[in-house]
Each structure stands twice: as structure tokens, then as C-alpha cells.
Symmetry: C2
Subunit: 147 residues, 2 copies
DNA sequence: CCGTATCCATTCCGATACTG
DNA sequence: CAGTATCGGAATGGATACGG
């Protein structure tokens, strides 16, 4: 039988996995966040076959994570651009990247520890204070969203 | 042919997906973070068939995300407990949960906006100040790790 | 209760050839 | 360049029966 759909799950994590919980989607979003927009760019970066890439791109467009627009360089082709919804996955990718760097052996190095999601670039210095006024110290970790 | 392995990828996101980028692993980790430890608990919660669950649990143990220990209640069976490495995925799950709540229609409500990873519980009030001294305001979002 | 073993359907993925 | 069409192998997932 086929895989159960999680789209109606009460848990938002399950619903997220239902949308981007496959092998390629998040990697496509990662590349899109890096600025890739063209079919051939994704194809070369991922080393995925054309038919699979077509499937995944179509699915991401359908989900409202990517959208198609005319090419910006005047060529006859279209581009895949992230929507606001798609850019929201940046946080998920940052978390996965950090975990991977800390927990899965890598052939190379590099670290990003703080990221300003509004401007999509690293933050060098940041002061974080807890509710009781205490200043957070080295080693402490948080995910923060300002409301 | 078979799926390419991403285990040697330079990108830590790809390496992470190589470890937990399948349909069930993150949901098992989610349940483990909620306190589940027994085979039957996962089985009931996920509605997954026994053979698949066996496979996934074995894989997670092999990856060092779960570990087996004797049952704490005196029964003859074993428990699956998260390792430190496994608990590190908490951040990934929080990010996915937030994205799902904001971007995928749900049958129910509920929100968690700030989480203290050290104590694994929500934070009610938090003040965040950028490098230039500016106080972050409503709507701004960051992922922060104190170094 | 905690799996293992088997079977089957579906899906995924890669390779290749082809088209406008 | 950007796909579409088709193929086959492999992995995935579900159901069920069985065993310690």
C-alpha cells in the first residue's frame, strides 16, 4: 500500500514533513536560498536526473514554496523563485546545518552560529537576556522568535 | 539505480538529510522528545507497521541518535532513549513546527514561539538586542546560538 | 510485548532517448 | 536550455502471520 498522508495531522511537524519531507525538496530550497533559479543550475548542483527534478520543482510550485516567473536575463526561459513561504524554510535549514556540523563527520569545516533571518546574513555579536534579566552566557542555546 | 548517498557531502544540510531525511525518523525523534521510549508507544503514536518501525529504530540506534537501555519499570523489555546527539535535533523540530504552524493549514490551533533548549520548555519573555544596541521588535525573527 | 519474516503494491530514483 | 517519455532496479511502506 501507499504511504500515509500526514497532511491532516494535528502536529505541525508532521504537516511540514508531508510537504517537504522527501529526499530532494529541502536541498532544492537550500540552493534557491543560495540564489539558484534555473533548471540547469539545480540539475548541476544536485546531480539529480531531469525527470526527478521536474517532479520536485512542480511539487514545490504546487505547494507555494517556489513560483515561476519570466527569466530576468532576457532569455526565453523561466525561473523558479522562492516565495515568502519558501523563504520561511530558512530557519529549518539553518537548524539542520548546525546539527549536521556538530554531529555528522564532514570532509571540510566551517561554522555559522548566528543568523539574522530578516537580512539573511550572519550576525557577529548579539546580546540575549532572559525574562528574569539574566544575561545568557556561553554554551546556552535558544531558538527565539520575537512577538 | 539506487539513491545517491549524501554522507560525504561538504554541505552539512545534505549530511543531515542523509541521516534523518526519511519519512519516519524525525517523527520518531519527536515522539522520543515527548517522552516515548517503548516500541509499542511509537507504534501506536505513528500508526506505522512493525517492520518499518523496527527498521527505523535500528537505523537511529546505529546513527547514535537513540540508544537501547534496560526497561526502567522492571519489565523484561528494553527502552529507546535519545542520546545527546539525538536531543540536538530538537532545534530542527522546533523550526519545522513553527514553519508548519505558519504555513500549512491545520485542523487545530496552538503555538510555541520561544523555547529554552537547555530546559526544553517554553520561554515566556525574552529581550533580544542586536550588535548595535538596537532592541529587536515584534515580527523580527532570529536563530541564536550563544558562543 | 517486542519484535522477525514474508509478501506485495507503490513510489522513488537514475539512465537514456527524444523534442521544441 | 528545459523539459517530456519511458524503462528498470531498488527502496519504501503496509498487512499479516509467526515466535520468544
Amino acid at each position: 500500500m501507499r504511504r500515509k498522508s500526514l497532511s491532516g495531522a494535528a502536529c505541525p511537524i508532521a504537516r511540514t514533513l508531508d510537504v517537504i519531507g522527501d529526499w530532494w525538496s529541502l536541498l532544492i530550497v537550500r540552493d534557491a536560498l543560495r540564489g539558484m533559479r534555473r533548471f540547469s543550475e539545480f540539475e548541476k548542483s544536485l546531480g539529480v536526473s531531469k525527470n526527478i527534478l521536474t517532479q520536485r520543482l512542480r511539487s514545490l510550485v504546487k505547494q507555494g514554496i517556489l513560483e515561476l516567473s519570466p527569466a530576468s536575463d532576457g532569455s526565453a526561459y523561466r525561473e523558479y523563485r522562492l516565495t515568502t513561504k519558501g523563504r520561511g524554510l530558512f530557519k529549518v535549514l539553518v537548524a539542520m546545518g548546525q546539527w549536521g556540523q556538530e554531529n555528522v563527520a564532514s570532509p571540510a569545516g566551517g561554522r555559522v552560529t548566528m543568523v539574522d533571518l530578516e537580512h539573511h546574513k550572519p550576525v557577529r555579536k548579539l546580546e540575549v537576556r532572559a525574562a528574569d534579566g539574566r544575561l545568557l552566557g556561553p554554551g546556552e542555546t535558544m531558538i527565539v522568535r520575537i512577538d
